[in-house]
Subunit: 214 residues, 2 copies
């Protein structure tokens, strides 16, 4: 048998990604098997390899979709110019997503390409997109600082948040601890630090406490 044309190439792509997502969300990335995906969609392995280079490639695209979905959720959040509130909303959005799709989210960072293989450009771009969301929320509080500085604080927050979800996803939080409460503590304290801490020499913040700027 060959060339069934039951599905277009695009439909097939969807079938495969959807099936992979379904399997990963149920069994985790460990449980993803090419043969299983093929069986699921009613084709054979060879067809998978017609559409994707290999499993790594398939997983990258699956993870790409996960990032897309998260991005879509995040962009629904309305910003109010109040960083504390905006960040909390964003975090809420972010954590809701990771709670609803824990294993899919885990797969995003659990999966690692062999070193010899560079992360595709389109993937890095999706990540940057998410970062800039945080930057926008953080901007008002940092109006006196350089773009580079804003960028860095956004990234620090993002990475910190990320650490929490990773540890949560691998079941390393302790009893009664949730990434939501942790994240709130982080943001509150961090924003306090940005607001009341030592200021760079920008002239528009009242309390320079005399400590050396970083």
């Amino acid at each position: 048998m060959a060339r069934r044309s039951d599905h277009t190439r695009e439909e097939l792509w969807r079938l495969i990604i959807d099936s992979s997502r379904k399997i990963v969300e149920k069994e985790g990335l460990r449980g993803l098997r090419a043969r299983q995906v093929a069986r699921d969609i009613g084709y054979t392995i060879g067809t998978l390899y017609n559409l994707f280079e290999d499993l790594d490639d398939l997983i990258m695209h699956m993870n790409g979709e996960t990032l897309d979905q998260l991005m879509e959720e995040c962009s629904k959040v309305e910003l109010t110019q109040n960083p504390n509130m905006d960040l909390e909303r964003l975090v809420h959005c972010y954590l809701s997503f990771t709670h609803e799709n824990p294993k899919l989210w885990n797969a995003v960072f659990e999966h690692k390409l062999p070193e010899t293989r560079p992360v595709p450009e389109w993937f890095s771009e999706k990540v940057s997109g998410l970062l800039s969301t945080i930057e926008r929320a953080l901007a008002p509080i940092l109006s006196g600082r350089s773009a580079a500085e804003i960028h860095q604080h956004a990234r620090v927050l993002w990475m910190s948040l990320f650490g929490m979800t990773v540890l949560e996803g691998s079941g390393r939080l302790q009893e009664g601890e949730t990434s939501m409460t942790l994240a709130k503590t982080l943001i509150k304290t961090y924003v306090d630090g940005l607001t009341n801490g030592p200021q760079v020499n920008a002239g528009n913040y009242p309390k320079d406490n005399g400590k050396t700027p970083r």
Copy 2:
């Protein structure tokens, strides 16, 4: 051939773990093969399975050793009661370690047991040990707060730091960005937030700015 007694059970254990560490540090966790370890140490696969339950078990113990080593480094750090400085030293220690053993460190969180399999007690204890180091450094600044609160801030910092090293380890930092500078920013801002931010009602901090305590 059987029962060579070239090595005691303990020596064999060491041989296997050391070989695994060597392989992982060179090739990453992906490159770890039971057959390769066996060949390395001059035994056959079966012997591996005499000492370890399976590869997951072997990896857990290998990662346990990594945690031990990091703990040993961290406990060399002398604390001065100045949280900012102490934390920076600890972070320096932590990051030095992860930079010197990037792939071994990556293996610690890259590896995930099947869900059905609980993380061994002894492993969780090693993690808690590292956490309490941070708690000790943070304590002076939080003398007025509850133990639970101190604990939580320590964990937030630890997880944040963790996020950075994870992302660094998977090559997701950008040009000119290092986990060291990121971590310094995090700690500085966070400690500022703890020092100058809204205080809980403990009576021994001067600047209560009136915001609602968390």
